[in-house]
């Protein structure tokens, strides 16, 4: 999004030029300072932004240092003890480790996406059909996906039958019931759901590489692997890094699938599930706010690191 800031800056300069030109034409129309018109355009967007983003965030900061239960009229100031509680109670803190499964899954997901995007770049029969099928899961409603995979993983369900078909009839684990396995199952579901988005983004980036380059490389005797290694990989590096950063903050914010499928049971509770449970199930708004603030800070730090690591410029091949 730094693009937006830069763009606004360049636009500001541009309009300064325009304004001086306009001032020459209609001196009475331009007044400096608190012109009303811009604020008429901004009042609605800014109003919504303040009421539904900034006021909640401010309140959240305040709640996080109180013992509020969400209902009572009084809030007692308790300093940083909510933060202390979170970091000192292993039962709460362990939700961070659940994120690791999803970070692992996003690596697999991006590798698969990159593989499919690359092979579909070269001429393929039924290309659009393959593309559509691989992408479609991303569009499906989360509750429907949760149903599909509840049935997929249930004892005697789709997965067990598939394994039976290829002769693996042996010990069938409780895919969703065993706390040691449940997060692998859910992370797998996450790959199924989100791989298509990464795939389409990568495919778009690869297709913006001018086709002539591959021909030239082929004339020079480059193999497919070399074409990938020296043409495709460098030119889509920015989108890969961006997707990876988004995947990490996404892994911390996993919510829907484990919540709908299991309500966070069997050790599948993620950071966000734990937070909303504290707030709306156990009425510990103070503690939940502290957790939300921690997540917000982590995401801000990750984004800041991303800005430092990945320059906001495109690789230019031509």
């Amino acid at each position: 999004m730094t693009g937006l800031t830069q763009m606004v800056e360049s636009r500001t300069n541009g309009s300064r030029l325009r304004r001086s030109r306009r001032t020459a034409v209609m001196p009475q129309k331009r007044r400096r300072g608190w012109a009303v018109t811009p604020w008429l355009f901004l009042i609605l967007p800014l109003g919504f932004l303040l009421v539904f983003t900034y006021i909640p965030v401010m309140n959240m900061l305040w709640y996080s240092v109180t013992d509020w239960d969400g209902l009572s009229k009084t809030k007692e100031f308790v300093g940083l003890s909510n933060y202390g509680t979170f970091f000192s109670r292993p039962a709460l803190f362990r939700v961070f480790f659940v994120s690791l499964y999803y970070i692992g899954a996003s690596v697999v997901q991006m590798a698969l996406a990159l593989y499919f995007a690359t092979i579909l770049t070269f001429s393929t029969k039924f290309k659009n059909l393959f593309k559509g099928i691989l992408f479609f899961p991303y569009l499906i409603n989360g509750v429907a996906i949760a149903f599909v995979f509840l049935y997929f993983f249930q004892p005697g369900g789709t997965l067990d039958s598939l394994l039976g078909m290829i002769g693996m009839d042996g010990a069938k684990p409780q895919w969703l019931g065993n706390p040691d396995i449940v997060n692998f199952s859910l992370a797998g579901t996450s790959i199924w759901r989100y791989m298509g988005l990464n795939f389409v983004l990568f495919l778009g980036a690869i297709q913006s590489i001018p086709g002539g380059i591959y021909e030239a490389a082929e004339l020079d005797g480059a193999t497919r692997w070399q074409q990938f290694r020296y043409i495709i990989a460098p030119s889509i590096k920015p989108i890969i890094s961006l997707s990876f950063i988004l995947a990490i903050s996404g892994s911390l914010a996993v919510f829907e699938i484990p919540f709908i499928m299991l309500q966070g049971a069997n050790g599948s509770a993620t950071f966000v599930i734990q937070t909303v449970n504290e707030a709306f199930k156990f009425n510990k708004v103070g503690l939940a706010s502290a957790m939300a603030v921690i997540l917000l800070l982590i995401i801000l730090i990750i984004t800041w690191v991303q800005r430092r690591l990945i320059p906001d410029e495109e690789v230019n091949l031509t």
């Binding site: 999004m1 693009g3 937006l4 800031t5 606004v8 636009r11 500001t12 309009s15 300064r16 325009r18 306009r22 209609m26 012109a35 018109t37 355009f41 609605l44 967007p45 919504f48 932004l49 009421v51 539904f52 983003t53 965030v57 709640y63 698969l112 092979i119 393929t124 029969k125 099928i133 479609f136 569009l139 499906i140 409603n141 509750v143 429907a144 599909v148 995979f149 049935y151 005697g156 369900g157 039958s161 598939l162 298509g196 389409v200 983004l201 989108i239 961006l242 914010a253 919510f255 829907e256 919540f259 709908i260 937070t275 909303v276 707030a279 709306f280 939940a288 939300a292 917000l296 984004t303």
Partner: protein, 273 residues
């Protein structure tokens, strides 16, 4: 020879990938077509021996999908119209006008894009409650309209490509900013509006937690929450639950088949910004 092996490998992996995407869904369709007795006596991968559409009717009635569809449509139409109006207005101010504290305000919008939505509901809930929007369709509508930075970004980006000389010509003809916005800029933003409608439409149709948290009333169910609540009473009647899931998926499939190209482009524009 080597090329043949490479091609075989390529198509094998593609077919495996597509099977992985499709098998869980196809099994749901098979299950939904089975009668209760057929379901009880067959495995998930077996074809139905009987054929019935009764499960779909059952799911449609029991989950109250008709009212869910109406609620979803109302929320979709109102929030998307609002998002477009608010987004284009904000974009016009940011891209075309100069005002004090512009950098600060743009910064506020950018920073808001980073705030993770679900967690702040802890505090947003109090705001929505104070405004008296709790348990009404206005709660999700307001939240969908109010927190969409990606749309503003898409509009600003598109607006950049509209030549400023058009505005200037209109100014010389005596048009003020509202006329320029309404008569010139807004109509030219159509492609960007289409993109926003698609991204936002998919997101709202699929949103679960906001309607779940803010509209507990059974009459206010949307597609997501009606399907979710449907699971409770039916527990393990998978032939009916599968039918319910498919009813929710079918509209998405139809839209996808009709608008494929726009959806790919729209999501690429929205996801990376």
């Amino acid at each position: 020879m080597r090329a043949r092996i490479a091609a075989t490998g390529k198509y094998t992996t593609l077919i495996l990938g597509c099977l992985a995407a499709l098998v869980p869904l196809v099994v749901m369709v098979l299950t939904a077509l089975k009668t209760k007795q057929d379901f009880a006596t067959s495995g998930p991968l077996d074809l139905p021996t009987s054929f019935t559409l009764a499960n779909f009717a059952d799911a449609f009635n029991k989950a109250d999908m008709a009212s869910a569809f109406v609620n979803t449509t109302i929320i979709l139409v109102v929030s998307i119209s609002g998002t477009i109006l608010i987004g284009t207005m904000a974009a016009y101010a940011i891209d075309r006008l100069t005002f004090r504290f512009k950098k600060l305000i743009v910064g506020l919008f950018l920073l808001a894009a980073l705030v993770p939505g679900v967690t702040t509901q802890v505090a947003t809930f109090q705001v929505v409650n104070t405004l008296g929007l709790y348990d009404s369709r206005l709660a999700p509508i307001a939240l969908f309209m109010g927190t969409d930075i990606v749309s503003i970004y898409i509009f600003v980006q598109f607006m950049r490509s509209i030549p400023v000389s058009l505005d200037e010509a209109a100014t010389l003809d005596g048009a003020n900013h509202f006329t320029i916005f309404r008569r010139i800029i807004f109509p030219l933003l159509k492609p960007a509006i289409a993109t926003v409608v698609i991204i936002k439409g998919v997101a709202i149709y699929n949103e679960f937690y906001i309607p779940f948290l803010y509209m507990p009333d059974a009459d206010l169910g949307v597609m997501s929450t009606s399907l979710f609540r449907f699971k409770g009473p039916l527990g393990t009647q998978w032939e009916v639950l599968s039918a319910g899931a498919i009813i929710v998926i079918v509209p998405t499939l139809i839209i996808f088949l009709l608008l494929q190209r726009f959806i790919y482009n729209g999501l690429s524009a929205g996801a990376t910004k």
